[in-house]
Symmetry: C2
Subunit: 478 residues, 2 copies
Amino acid sequence: MAFEKKELKKKSENISEWYTDVILKAELADYAPVKGCMVIRPYGYAIWEGIQQFMDSLYKEHGVQNAYFPLFIPEKLLNREKEHVVGFAPHMAVVTIAGGEELKEKLIVRPTSETIMYEMYKKWAHSWRDLPILINQWNNVVRWEKRTYLFLRTSEFLWQEGHCAHTTHKESLETVLWALGVYQKTYNELLGMYGIAGIKSETEKFAGAKTTYTFETLMPDGKALQACTSHDLGQNFSKAFDWTVLDQKGEKLHPWQNSWGYSTRSIGGLILSHGDNAGLVLPPAIAPIQVVIIPIPGSSEGVFNYARQIEDELSNMTFSGKQIRCLLDIKEGETAGFKFHKWELKGVPLRIEIGERELKDKRLQASSRDILQRIELKVESVSAYLKDIQNRMYEKHKKFTEDNTHKVDSFTEFKDIMTTRRGFIQALWCEDKFCEAKIKEETKASTRCLPLDAKEEKGECIYCKKPASHRWHFALSY
Amino acid sequence: MAFEKKELKKKSENISEWYTDVILKAELADYAPVKGCMVIRPYGYAIWEGIQQFMDSLYKEHGVQNAYFPLFIPEKLLNREKEHVVGFAPHMAVVTIAGGEELKEKLIVRPTSETIMYEMYKKWAHSWRDLPILINQWNNVVRWEKRTYLFLRTSEFLWQEGHCAHTTHKESLETVLWALGVYQKTYNELLGMYGIAGIKSETEKFAGAKTTYTFETLMPDGKALQACTSHDLGQNFSKAFDWTVLDQKGEKLHPWQNSWGYSTRSIGGLILSHGDNAGLVLPPAIAPIQVVIIPIPGSSEGVFNYARQIEDELSNMTFSGKQIRCLLDIKEGETAGFKFHKWELKGVPLRIEIGERELKDKRLQASSRDILQRIELKVESVSAYLKDIQNRMYEKHKKFTEDNTHKVDSFTEFKDIMTTRRGFIQALWCEDKFCEAKIKEETKASTRCLPLDAKEEKGECIYCKKPASHRWHFALSY
């Protein structure tokens, strides 16, 4: 696609307007001609492919296998687990006509696949020998939304959903935490994002789960983003589906199940966390283009040849065990300044400019996107420098999150923070949902999670003053 | 999943019953609790992943980028190209309720994505500089079917759909043929299948295309399987969508478009072409497990250690540039015979059995799945032997196709073949759709394609005796 010079809205002035603007202008995604849906354009989809590759190899290493289950779920199947259907009913898209005829039984476009998958698991597994089942699928799901937001909340989105079944609760819980660990690793190491792993409150947990584990990240506007979830389903679904297997003693056992999902919403978090007034800032590990090489337009043939040589050398080097992804920009009809602007908007981590002087001195003039600083580099140190950028971006997001996490012991201060700088609030809470609702009503902050590493702490609830034993994370959420 | 000894129906007695039976018993797929839909189980999905990897790298090499467009197409958008909507209307699944409300405009679950994609292309590209657009997506589509058949015809299926736009017809046609070439390569080199590349008749072409190119394969029952298609859309859609770009002279131009698709149906062809009475037979290039190593149950620890050593050695070797995929079967509670039967059913190309004698003599006793023959092999020759199997399977399918391709010059003989051994019939046809319909009515055979390499041949139509200049391929189709 042609690239025209486009003035970007400023992140520092209005992050919400900037967010949409940068997505459209960097050509990550576009609004679709269907209400609430989006088109993920090649540059945005390449980010999703990077995430898929990273996670999929970790799944396979662990013995999880990919499969594919149908898009449509018969209404009666979805109704099987009562809490589950209540949670999803308001967001369902329903097929009532197919092949020119009114359907006798309505089909729900999957909002998630627990019910259709577990009906099959029940058919396949009858003995402890058939367990564990470790299955994942990469697919599209539909949850109809009134208010949508590119990547962060769309009526259709892409994700992976893992669904496992075990003979013991202990084993199932290990899988739940392993999956959460994969998510955390993906955020930390690939997307350069820090976050808090924890447990959801009863109100906030997944419809049908025993316990929901979550990874919560903090955005620059002080709002929290639920970045992914991993659910301990207990025996809720195996009981609702009347699914038993024979254990080693020949006795009937309801399998222990879990499900875990990670979606294209993560790309929204990535954009918000790192971007700046000049556009996207992508961490090298996930950037579709890690290094852009720009021979200054109008230079001699020698400069272009030198640029090609640098491209060759870089393409033969690796970053994080993979070939460095570099692009030589020799597109005609664009000035150097235009090119710099274009790749800054697209968030390419490292820009190398080559002119007559660089050719003469055989050196590289580079510019680091995250700090917008010019540096001198040697070809052989590009990979190490990309690693520096990756670390710097993660540390910056970690520091931002820590700087905006407030340990609070009075509700006045709680309200005060929520009306000003926001961020995570760590406060003691009695774990009563009445208090949780009142806090949300008065401050808009909801419980985000109880961190996995939270220590017991005797005290009183920030709201009702009754005894409380744990400090929860609260925040205004996306 | 546990594996029980299962008697398989015989392919030689009833290929149709065998086909369903082998899919279920080899755990490739299963019937879903939704009419006409299937669950692709991990073993079947691994085949699809192999196909995806092979094709996706060829697409990327060619500059095609992946993206994602919405599942739902507003009714009015699908109605834009008249022939297109007429072709797909009888197979549509329609969402009429979403988010608890009746929708003002119905949404069609995509049967293919031309309309929703080209609406976006029109928004993105305004100048010849914005072309070509080379975009592909891997997704699910829905075409409601009354009679379904695992893999070969299901109401929902997985596929890739490539959609390109060019400034000239010549360039667009080059892309059409390049895509067809990728498909042919995939069938030949990955799936070990032979076939005929050609052009569809006016009646059989894609709804909305100018010309449809196809790859047709012959199944053991003498029926042809349309294995994939690549469509020259001409300017049909750009005109219907009123999409123009400015050419180099500043004049308006309707872009030339093409679309091409390859689906999970190909797995049905793979199963049918190569399988035998003992089960699946998978060509090494696509087999999820290429070599299974079975230490004879009850053997000494030395045998198991030797088996592990062989596994290590093989895992460090490559076949077709990738690590050999091998599995050591040390599952307890199964006899050697049971294990042999199990992996034969699953079509693993090479089985290596290790007992006391193999340990003592440091040799390998192997069994080749395609010819069900025992052979002696050295570890270092495993990769070369896998290559032999791959070639043998392709040559066998090629010979079968050639042996069952009949050059026919009388309609009596045509009818005779179609009521007995079937296969491809090469016959002169006047290219009038009336004749085509009469031939189908009287013989059930439809035109499959005019081969790309067909030479002009003056003669008379097999049916109406009017002048005809090309010999078309006819067959009973799946």
